[in-house]
Symmetry: C2
Subunit: 488 residues, 2 copies
């Protein structure tokens, strides 16, 4: 069950090491971000990236996909302030302990002594208002969401999109009458996030974090850990059941159906737009550049005329006819600039990750056909003009499905069982994820962390995995099956 | 030409004073904001409002309407950081002089000595990157936009939506080869903003600000001043021609078509989402509450069953049939709760500003008709079930047009010519806008400001108005016709 041989047996080792993204992820990633106009990291304040046109476009698409699902399920949009007072921020004990070291503070010109805390997340900003809004069970469930930036002074090395100090995300917060309503809400949140991630073909593990790693103030935390080519998992989203901890700290009370009063149950969950963008680039990209799922690609189809002496006009006319036919349904560009050869254009649009490329030369004109190349497989197909829309639709679907399936395959391949700390270390060194049995003791978790260079990320939430043997660290009977990885 | 009589002649004085929004604007406005779930002003940090579900919804609609137009005209989305360094912020002399007093500063946990400046606007954040992005004329025009919050420590009294410290807006920034390209861009920006404001029926003056009131660092500034029931105009958007001031300060250079090098020409423009929201509420609202244009209304149609003993089921079934037919095109709610009478529901949805109300009782069921009430005029019409969509569409259009025309009429009525400081003072006291002739000297502008309690807002940009006489302050020959008002 040891790592590389198993993957090697699937022909994956070759594929993996042939890609710069696996052998030298940082360089591959950073170069691509700038060249494909995703992010410019040259901004003079550390941890504050500039989202260029394609990065901003994809963030906006993710936002709109997620917000639609949230609103369909009854979450109302809200916008809460960026800042809170130090007093409000300190209300929930665990919460402040967890976040205090990394908060930015704001000085106001007129009142230097009263510093404001910049949100690292919005519980302490929203919940004092929830106290005012909630009177009785008729006000519940309360379900709100906002897409905003949060700010955390990360002390670990920053990395564009993965680990930054200005973090674009969506956070939803809900309040319920009963603990089972809150449980149901946790499941709804997981379903919503899973749907968006499926739309962009991202694979991940849904893990219940160990207690020592839960959100400060939560009863428990569920996280989506996406795989990454360098082996460091990428937490793209989290869902927390807050129980009544915050309701008590912020004195949120309601009148129950039976007339009695009490604290309600809360959940909150966050979806990291920039980390999902990172996952899209990292999971699907290849040595030619980005490979974008159609759902978020700024340009979904590029049309490239292949000039041929004496046929220039009819080729361009046909290109325009094709474009007109497609542009009501897809984001299409006709690249008819004359300062690049068709080959240079192919190279450029492959780098940009455009899902489908249409080439039109004299033969396509005379045959009334279209030659389409898929970005993921680089396969070319020729289709009749009359079948254009249905062919494009089919190819887009196939491409999206292929990206998703390839990524799922990789996720499965990366998970490798380990029975000793040495095996875990070897697996992590090979940029994989180790699955082990654990007794549940924090001492063993610390031991693992110190010795293998990775940490326990948690047990599967969506799949019940029963331990069969003993703890990988202490040898006592195992209580749970957990995943160990390096992490961003 | 003196104020009130002219308006009185049009029957407006009566209409005006009958409305609480004209006689006691602040109370009317603040009560409505909370009741209609627009904004909650009870947040404990001054100048930082909480946008509730309907406020956030309308902000999002405005954003999406504006961003579509910006992107159709070639503006690319970007997201720049919230903060810059003090050094970068200080680059353009006039700019820092204008904004320094009102900037918030951020302390970073690890490096307290290096404070960061929170954007009051993003010129000094974007332009160092433009320097890296722009090499030659092929990179121009550069047109980008972002919808973000900016932060200004307003020292005047804060007022929800109008004058806050956290300001949701869209800012666009463009770079051009020639001064005439920049001029054209100013006109394009004005056209885009006019279109959005037209969609929500807001009336305003497009004014070229006097030099002493232009954007710090700009060559000149154009502003959209919307009328307000309390007479204080509401600047909802501005468009600035920056010339080459910032390009020089930030060393932005490009290679021209002829091979020579030089600084490009820039424009920037901002659209204040919360101020436009304020204008929508203030211009269209009445004593029953909000009156929302269909383009931004969270609920466009509410269906209210009128219960009748023995017919409950057929009434609800018919309501559902009507709803199903409408909900693919409009945002529809069927209010079938049983804890309110139909009358209470009417009252509630009128307060919420819902454009159309459908009432369905036993008569509508038996006749297969629908009774529709317009929120603006409260007129009721009965339509056949078969004509439902076309009737709704017509009523929505008429309502939107009526709101726009009523607001335009009010704008025209509020403008009153004045020939002396006394006349100006009287006009402003009557919550109107004075039109005067001015010599163009700053001394006279100061004199006016000190004596009348309002300020020169500028001359019309869209209409050429030639002065015929003398300066209202000094009596010397006038150079321009300007508008004077109190302002937020």
């Amino acid at each position: 069950m040891g790592g590389s041989s198993r993957v090697g047996g699937q022909g994956l080792t070759v594929a993996v090491t042939a890609l710069k993204k696996f052998t030298n992820f940082s360089t591959w990633f950073d170069e691509l971000l700038l060249k494909a106009k995703i992010v410019d990291g040259r901004y003079p304040v550390k941890g504050f990236p500039v989202y260029m046109e394609n990065g901003a476009f994809i963030l906006n698409r993710l936002k709109s996909m997620l917000e639609s699902l949230l609103e369909e399920t009854g979450h109302k949009p809200v916008y809460f302030p960026l800042v809170t007072t130090e007093e409000m921020f300190a209300r929930e004990t665990q919460h402040i302990k967890g976040f205090q070291p990394e908060v930015f503070k704001i000085e106001q010109p007129g009142e230097r002594e009263r510093k404001l805390v910049v949100r690292p997340t919005s519980e302490t900003i929203m919940y004092p208002m929830f106290k005012l809004w909630i009177r009785s069970h008729a006000d519940l469930p309360l379900k709100v969401h906002q897409s905003v930036n949060v700010y955390r002074y990360e002390t670990k090395a920053t990395r564009l999109l993965y680990r930054v100090r200005e973090i674009p995300w969506n956070e939803a917060h809900t309040v319920h009458e009963t603990p089972s309503d809150a449980e149901r809400q946790v499941r709804e949140a997981i379903e919503i996030y899973s749907k968006v991630l499926r739309e962009v073909g991202i694979s991940y593990l849904i893990l219940k974090r160990p207690d020592f790693d839960k959100f400060p103030g939560a009863s428990y935390s569920i996280a989506f850990d996406a795989w990454n080519p360098d082996g460091k998992v990428n937490q793209v989203a989290t869902v927390h059941n807050l129980g009544r901890n915050f309701a008590k700290a912020f004195e949120i009370e309601f009148e129950r159906r039976d007339g009695s009063r009490g604290h309600p149950y809360q959940t909150c969950y966050g979806f990291g737009y920039s980390r999902v963008l990172a996952a899209i680039i990292a999971q699907h990209g290849d040595d030619r550049g980005l490979v974008l799922p159609p759902s978020v690609a700024p340009t979904q189809i590029v049309i490239i005329p292949i000039p041929f002496k004496g046929h220039e006009k009819e080729i361009i006319d046909y290109c325009k006819e094709v474009k007109e036919r497609l542009e009501s349904r897809w984001r299409v560009i006709l690249d008819d600039t004359e300062d690049m050869t068709p080959g240079e254009k192919f190279y450029h649009w492959e780098m940009m990750g455009t899902p489908l490329r249409i080439e039109i030369g004299p033969r396509e004109v005379s045959e009334r056909t279209i030659t389409i190349t898929r970005r993921d497989t680089l396969e070319r197909v020729k289709v009749e003009f009359g079948d254009l829309e249905s062919s494009i639709e089919r190819l887009m679907d196939e491409l999206a499905r292929n990206l998703r399936e390839k990524s799922e395959r990789m996720m499965r391949e990366l998970i490798t069982d380990a029975r000793s700390l040495d095996e875990i270390r070897k697996i992590l060194d090979e940029r994989r994820i180790a699955r082990v049995e654990w007794c549940g003791e924090t001492g063993c978790a610390d031991n693992i962390k110190e010795n293998v260079g990775g940490e326990i990320r948690g047990e599967r939430y969506d799949v019940a995995e029963r331990p069969q043997g003993t703890c990988v660290a202490c040898g006592k009977p195992a209580k749970t099956v957990v995943y160990i990885a390096r992490a961003y």
